[in-house]
């Protein structure tokens, strides 16, 4: 198999896997980056959300062959030190409960803020409705997004990627 190369959290990455393998399983099983979660496998829950060239995508249905030459940002690359406004806001609101969906929630929210720095409730509904939380933390997620929106914008991450996927 020819290697597939892409940028992962700002660094070059090369993998030799079946080109039809979803990005999710390359991240989790091939590269051992388990911050991105499996929830449904059919793009219905958002737990696997990562950024592909800054856009939020469901990595469970994104083939690795379609990632070639592009830049992937995962939760591990959002900031080097939990300094992204969303991470700080999530902590301030104690948003997570079990926490399993939160990587995807934060990545979806980061893409929203990169696009709309001051989102309305309707913007949040639109951007976040694809992300399921069975613990029911939606109200706190909404508060955390508004809180993050009121903070200074994210600084560049240590990887050199514009954190937040802009």
């Amino acid at each position: 198999m020819p290697p597939i190369t892409f940028k992962l959290n700002g660094k070059p990455q090369s993998v030799e896997v079946d080109p039809d393998t979803p990005l999710l399983w390359v991240l989790r099983d091939t590269l051992g980056m388990t911050g991105t979660k499996y929830g449904c496998g059919i793009s219905f829950c958002g737990a696997c959300t990562v950024h592909l060239d800054g856009e939020p995508v469901r990595s469970c249905v994104t083939l690795i062959s379609d990632v070639a030459g592009k830049a992937v940002t995962t939760i591990e690359g959002l900031s080097p030190d939990r300094s992204h406004p969303l991470q700080q806001a999530w902590i301030a609101e104690d948003a997570p409960q079990c926490g399993y969906c939160q990587s995807g929630q934060i990545m979806a929210a980061a893409a929203l803020l990169a696009r709309k720095p001051k989102p309305t409730d309707a913007d949040i509904d639109e951007a976040m409705t694809g992300n399921i939380c069975r613990c029911g933390t939606y109200q706190r997620i909404r508060r955390a997004i508004h809180r993050a929106a009121a903070m200074p914008p994210p600084r560049r991450s240590a990887t050199g990627e514009p954190a937040g996927g802009a």
């Binding site: 979660k37 959002l78 104690d94 399921i132 706190r140």
Partner: protein
């Protein structure tokens, strides 16, 4: 010195062997009660081999290290309920250390540190509150005594604060680190009589400290079961028979083995009572994706087993037949039949509830490394020792040879109060001869769960011409958790099903409840709030119907029929604390006041109220909805909770918010249906759950109380569906009698 301390010295030594050896430490072992809070059906766990004999009587440990560090070792699983925050808060309060200084260590199933303990039944804070305070107070007392000895002072002149002992007259101060060695040689005070702090002195309990686990849940570093990575491990998925009780007749492994990355295809047998696994054909591969591809390629012919004809329709027919005749009498006061016969106003209604899947965001999984003489399991589990015993049995090992490491759980909700995932992983690892992570896809998780029972309720009620309540008649049929799990000679089918209905607190002069179990092959078990999730809805909805028949305000009717202060005992759980009608009135009044009960609403909107007592906790909720032929929108939910003394107010609120969302998912969307013996739904597209765009504004208000703390993980669930249904009635005049709420029922 109490006799228990002799044991404690032996087991303290044993415990220390399991942790950092060498340095001195003050170690106190203690016991958190584990009263099988799941109730009936619990005999299931007893069918698995008992946990290994423990050389100690303890299941929790406090260790103050010579560096002043404080470690709480306990087998309480974190599934989002905040147990790794609330438990150290209680300990730190009595030990007089900063809360953030207490590290929580998840106990392994090592008999030197562990004795039967699980996480369920909203019991962790309720059962741990006093023992944790006693252990913390004992350690504090010993550290104070050690300091007093060093100073040649009286203990009465010394006090503890911020991890140090202070000599009041001189202001001299010794850090715990400097006292640990001396304190560890002192006799342990009797935990039952050690002096506890006065609650008025609490400085941690009752505050909303930040959760310990939140930061790791914002950067992907929190490790859940599916994140376990063991050197050399393989991944597996299992093809299970779509019908319950079916098994492979024959299969061809070749197409699966031809998939790149697939290493092995192995058949694993079903395990019956004691774990209830489906068995099937496991595809073991180098990656999860390869295993999934391999399973897709498998060709299996199934023996569909004894339940292949069961369906949601056949079950409904059974329910109708069962409730057409008398059931087992659960409660009988006065003469409901006679009162109904002569009543001026009668109301009859049938309520129906479906099977439900827990669907935690992290699907079931377990990683196992089974060797010839021992095994290690990494399991996101609520019951590690059940997993240990069941995995041991499935691999012909002795339980002490099996160690279970409990991981973080991506949601539990009762689904992880099981052993099936652990048994399967152990079987596959043994057959593959390698460490294996068995991954359940979302489809597996949806179609091979242990479901919330389905139920059917025939109600009759009556009021007289003046609106005075006369009779309440409730005949219930359901699939039963106890009937499914317990051996037939020990099963008490009603005991797992009637809770929260049999102890109806409203003062009807004539009241009768009957129950009948419906035979079914669909596995059922504990779903967040268990039977209360059904009975909270049906009793509070039908009661609302009677309020309407009486021409009474739903809140006023509730308060009137809660009547004079009484304690109502649950006839099937007579040893459980009885329902206190005054505390129920308290939450009703608080929720109503905060919701603006009785104040005008915009056109098309309605308010509904419901209350329920479960897991020793009182909850009332007021829902504000708009509804019409196209559907229902829940705008606002105001919740009042009385859970006794509050450890962490914000986490009580978080659990109420969570329970409301969980219950709303079920009320608005949740339904598992059976066709030809198999579950029809498979993933979130056909088993939808509440999402951000449907999230109402939720406000939680806590009743100030000095009563003992009670659970909050589950009690937020039971009232919400009734509150919404009652609000729909207020808005539209349409009565919701089956869940999930369907458009035809609104038209």
């Amino acid at each position: 010195m109490a006799p228990a301390n002799v044991t404690s010295k032996v087991s303290r030594r044993d415990f220390l062997k399991t942790s950092s050896a060498g340095s001195a430490a003050l170690v106190i072992g203690f016991y958190l009660p584990w009263e099988a809070p799941l109730g009936a059906g619990q005999a299931a766990a007893q069918e698995a081999p008992p946990p290994p004999p423990s050389p100690n009587p303890f299941n929790a440990w406090v260790k103050v290290g010579s560096d002043g560090s404080v470690t709480l070792t306990v087998a309480k699983s974190e599934m989002g309920q905040g147990v790794r925050t609330s438990l150290p808060m209680i300990l730190a309060e009595e030990l007089e250390v900063e809360w953030a200084q207490v590290r929580v260590e998840q106990a392994r199933t090592d008999p030197r540190m562990y004795r039967s303990l699980g996480t369920g039944g909203s019991s962790s804070v309720r059962e741990s509150y006093l023992p944790l305070r006693q252990a913390g107070a004992a350690a504090r007392t010993m550290l104070i005594a050690a300091a007093a000895q060093k100073w040649g002072a009286s203990e009465k002149e010394c006090y503890a604060e911020k991890g140090a002992v202070v000599h009041r007259p001189t202001g001299k101060r010794l850090a715990y680190a400097e006292l640990v060695e001396a304190a560890s040689k002192l006799p342990l005070p009797d935990l039952n009589t050690v002096a506890l702090k006065a609650p008025s002195q609490f400085r941690i309990i009752g505050t909303s400290v930040p959760r310990t686990d939140t930061p790791s849940k914002t950067d992907g570093s929190a490790q859940f079961g599916l994140d376990v990575r063991v050197p050399g491990m393989l991944y597996a998925v299992i093809a299970r028979c779509p019908t319950f009780g079916g098994k492979p007749k024959k299969f061809d492994p070749a197409p699966a083995l031809a998939v790149p990355g697939v290493k092995k295809v192995v058949e694993i047998p079903a395990v019956g009572r004691g774990a209830f696994t489906a068995g099937g054909v496991a595809v073991v591969a180098e990656s999860t994706w390869a295993a999934i591809q391999g399973r897709d390629a498998l060709e299996i012919e199934w023996d569909l087993g004894p339940h292949a004809n069961e369906s949601t329709e056949s079950l409904k027919k059974q329910f109708e037949e069962l409730t057409a005749k008398p059931g087992k009498v659960i409660r009988n006061e006065g003469d409901a039949e006679a009162a109904l016969a002569g009543a001026a106003k009668k109301v009859e209604a049938i309520y129906e509830l479906p099977f439900l899947s827990h669907s935690p965001m992290e699907p079931m999984n377990c990683t196992a490394d089974v060797r010839a003489d021992r095994a290690e399991l990494w399991a996101p589990t609520q019951f590690p020792d059940w997993n240990q015993g069941a995995a041991a049995q499935a691999t012909a090992l002795q339980p002490p040879a099996v160690t279970v490491h409990t991981t973080l759980m991506g949601g539990g909700f009762g689904r992880r109060a099981q052993a099936d995932f652990a048994v399967e992983a152990a079987q596959v690892s043994k057959a593959a001869g390698a460490p294996v992570q068995v991954v359940w896809t979302r489809e597996d998780d949806t179609q091979h769960s242990f479901y919330r029972p389905a139920s059917y309720h025939r109600f009759r009620g009556a009021v007289d011409a003046a609106g005075k309540p006369l009779a309440w008649f409730h005949r219930m049929a359901s699939t039963s958790i106890s009937a499914f799990w317990d051996p037939p000679d020990r099963a008490k089918p009603e005991e797992s099903e009637v809770g929260g209905a049999a102890n109806l607190p409203y003062a009807f002069p004539n009241l009768r409840m009957e129950y009948a179990p419906a035979p079914s092959g669909v596995p059922v078990a504990w779903w967040r709030s268990v039977e209360h999730s059904m009975n909270g809805f049906v009793t509070e909805s039908f009661f609302d119907e009677l309020a309407a028949a009486a021409g009474a305000d739903p809140l006023a009717f509730r308060l009137r029929l809660l009547a004079e202060p009484r304690k109502v005992t649950d006839p099937v759980s007579p040893n459980s604390p009885p329902l206190d009608t005054e505390r129920m009135k308290g939450v009703l009044q608080l929720a109503a006041e905060k919701a603006g009960w009785g104040k005008p609403l915009p056109a098309g909107r309605g308010r509904g109220i419901a209350c329920h007592y479960s897991f020793h906790t009182y909850v009332a909720q007021v829902a504000e909805v708009s509804a019409g032929p196209k559907g229902v929108r829940v705008h606002r939910v105001v919740c009042a909770v009385d859970c006794g003394r509050v450890i962490h107010p914000d986490q009580v609120k978080a659990q109420m918010e969570s329970g409301i969302v969980y219950g709303l998912s079920a009320a608005l969307h949740g339904e598992i249906t059976i066709e030809n013996g198999a579950v029809k739904q498979s993933n979130f597209h056909d088993y939808p759950v509440l999402r951000m765009n449907e999230m109402p504004q939720v406000e939680v208000h806590i009743v100030a109380s000095t009563e003992a703390p009670t659970g909050v993980g589950e009690p937020g669930v039971p009232p919400i569906a009734a509150a919404v249904g009652n609000a729909i009635f207020a808005a539209t005049g349409k009565r919701i009698r089956r869940l999930p709420i369907r458009a035809p029922d609104l038209a």
